[in-house]
Symmetry: C2
Subunit: 445 residues, 2 copies
């Protein structure tokens, strides 16, 4: 007897690959966690009469989006310190708050809130960097979301680890824990060139090779970073990272707002991956990343929202819209980063940056069924002249109605299937009082 | 017997004036189309026991937002030509399409779609500029939305008018029609310095004075405009407008992306009003308006979405968020345009730009009850550390649940009260086929 699958029957399919394709009245067949077939809806109904059918009559079905950089637990610090430059924001507000508040419970509550926001807005996979990564990994597994969980590597003591050796030990432990996990990967996240010393970089490079894991790091987020780095190390951040053999396809450089010509060459020569976070860079006045030049150099660039304390939304659709508009406005070229390129950035480019191009990022037979359906029957997306343009320039992330991760429908008609959104929001709502030091709500455990 | 009013009972009130104020557990009392009182909810329930009560337990109530610049009917051309520079977009795509399609029906259908999108996203008043303004005025009145309807003044013949005299005659007619209209005003909208000759500017100046109406005009949207204008007229656009006495508090200069030092002085000296349209300027690669400098010069700047063919959303909350982020990123100053200033830009500054500061733009006793309620119980706006910050940097416009114009609740729990959204969307959905020249859907009448 034939295997029973599920037929998703959307009005439109945006498979991302082949590039520039829109399929109308086609079905996507899922079997288990995989995409089994893409074919005309009529044929699908004849060939697979036993399949479960999911009607999406006014929807476009696309790959779930991939958020290449976030700090999920920081959703609990959303809006505590806005309209400030990065250094002051970090040193006077965020770091002190984290010293006071960050615990396993903070990380668990904040991660659940972040995953709720991301799932509701069409994101199925996120590349994470925060303390208590083992808690984040556990919460992602429980939530059913795909995550690349970065273990922070930093020389200073934190509420989570008392220094480099502790970070490295916990990295090895997490790598072992998630070794066979279908949803969660571990990666190494040295914080930034200005917070990680040479010895730590050596250890990171060795551990990444030994464990065959990716590395994700903030690099050249501000212009000051290069100046300070040259004073301290006698060279720019990328030159130093290259000396330790860190640059390459397994290294994700986050932000990259201020590369010079030499840096661009280094990035291109090594095939280093890039995560662009335009809204965070604007809000902290870090600058405007030269996205068109990076793409012209043949680099693979995906998009990250950064944490909610500096964005303040984990909305990848608004993020990539901002990336496309900002690229045009800052370069003076309205053709820069068109809607198709923008769609690639939040799907296939993100998959490639995480080393998962063969598994994720497009709707192709054999790939994993991480999917998002957006309802088109809304004022902002009517009338429908060009689907890809409506999605990137017009749609609101609130139009995502259904999301599947590894073939499981985690969002059904805008409702979570595993959790109750109100409960997650209620957990989060306790934190402002804890932030203010109000003992009545109880300590963070 | 006492007059029966309506008590709105939100969790929070953002009155905008006094500046920086957040009121918790307060009531806003409406009587007719006016704000009658703002007082603690407890007191309100005692003082006005007979009033109709509207519970908004998880909402913030704020002034309805004011969209200072749009071309509503262009919603029907949303996405027909993206990723193109302004001149090519206008001359090769938009103008030819308009020549073919623009009729009274096009304008009526497109205006209804635009008002649906604006109302759903918390906008209660829009400053319009498009052909068939008499149709737009009629549709706004029927929809119940507040509008300042600009009559296009342009020397070339259009599908609506065969030249300057026809434009002026229709302007006078519309001014007479709406003379006593509580919702709709007429204004004059000479298109741009490069499409309106000296004689037309003279006529506009005279008619504006005679009819005591405002003038709204695209000015310095691109760098090329200044160069061409200096070649044609021997002076920059603002110098020429000033020669005809057009600059001043009744003149709204839209875009103003490329003012030089002399222009800044002219704008400040005359108290000319400004409409900033950041997303349209980015998308068409027109440039980045020096918003922080304009504000520092003491100018009054509001926000416009521009038309949906160049934005492509009429979402004023996302627009002002972009304005604030872009101001920080482009100026290198993270303190530029903070959340309070951003809130002012879409409320009181917009009202001032339309000469309605005493009537609109803040929640003050005696002002008109144009209101919007945004539901805060959503992933993107929890937890709630700082209300104004959550609204500007985190909230989605889809969180607006209820909107009142002149005291009438036009949006109730996200549903229109006067129209059916699906019917408006169905009307709009016919236009792509007409755009493609498909006769089967019938001509545009």
């Amino acid at each position: 007897m034939a295997v029973r699958g599920t037929l998703l029957l959307p009005q439109f399919l945006l498979p991302v690959r082949p590039a520039g394709t829109v399929l109308e009245h086609h079905a996507l067949r899922m079997v288990g966690d995989r995409i089994d077939a893409l074919l005309p809806a009529e044929d699908a109904l004849v060939r697979f009469p036993e399949d479960l059918q999911v009607a999406l009559p006014r929807h476009v079905l696309m790959p779930g989006m991939i958020n290449l950089h976030t700090h999920s637990p920081m959703t609990l610090l959303r809006g505590v310190a806005d309209d400030l430059p990065l250094a002051q924001w970090l040193q006077d507000h965020i770091w002190p708050a984290e010293q006071r508040l960050v615990t396993a419970q903070f990380v668990a509550d904040g991660t659940r809130l972040a995953m709720l926001e991301m799932l509701l807005s069409g994101t199925t996979c996120f590349n994470e960097q925060y303390f208590f990564p083992e808690v984040i990994a556990r919460e992602a597994r429980a939530f059913g979301m795909r995550a690349s969980v970065g273990v922070p590597i930093i020389n200073v003591a934190t509420p989570w680890a008392d220094g480099l050796q502790a970070c490295l030990a916990r990295a090895e432990a997490l790598m072992e824990t998630v070794a066979d996990d279908p949803l969660v990967d571990a990666c190494l996240s040295p914080h930034a060139p200005y917070t990680v010393d040479d010895h730590a970089l050596q250890e990171v490079a060795a551990l990444a090779v030994a464990g065959q894991v990716q590395i994700s790091m903030h690099v050249l987020e501000t212009a000051a970073e290069r100046v300070q780095h040259e004073q301290t190390h006698g060279m720019g951040p990328l030159a130093r990272l290259q000396r330790f053999g860190l640059l390459g396809p397994d290294f994700l450089a986050v932000h990259m707002v201020h590369p010079d010509a030499e840096d661009m060459q280094r990035l291109a020569d090594t095939g280093t991956q890039l995560a662009h976070c335009p809204k965070s860079n604007l809000k902290l006045a870090s600058g405007i990343c030269p996205l068109p030049q990076l793409l012209a150099a043949g680099l693979n660039v995906g998009v990250g929202t950064d944490g909610a304390a500096s964005n303040n939304r984990l909305d990848l659709l608004e993020e990539v819209r901002t990336a496309a508009l900002l690229a045009k406005g800052s370069s003076g070229d309205a053709t820069a980063v068109d809607a198709w390129q923008a769609l690639d950035m939040v799907t296939i480019n993100g998959a490639r940056a995480l080393g998962k191009e063969t598994q994720l990022g497009s709707l192709e037979v054999g790939k994993i069924a991480d999917l998002a359906a957006l309802e088109l029957q809304a004022a902002a997306t009517q009338p429908l002249h060009q689907l890809h343009s409506q999605l990137i320039y017009s749609a609101s992330s609130s139009q995502f109605s259904d999301v599947w991760v590894a073939g499981e429908r985690l969002l059904k008609d805008r409702q979570l299937t595993r959790f109750h959104a109100d409960q997650l929001l209620a957990e989060a709502a306790l934190w402002p009082a804890r932030f203010r030091g109000d003992a009545s709500v109880g300590p963070s455990l």
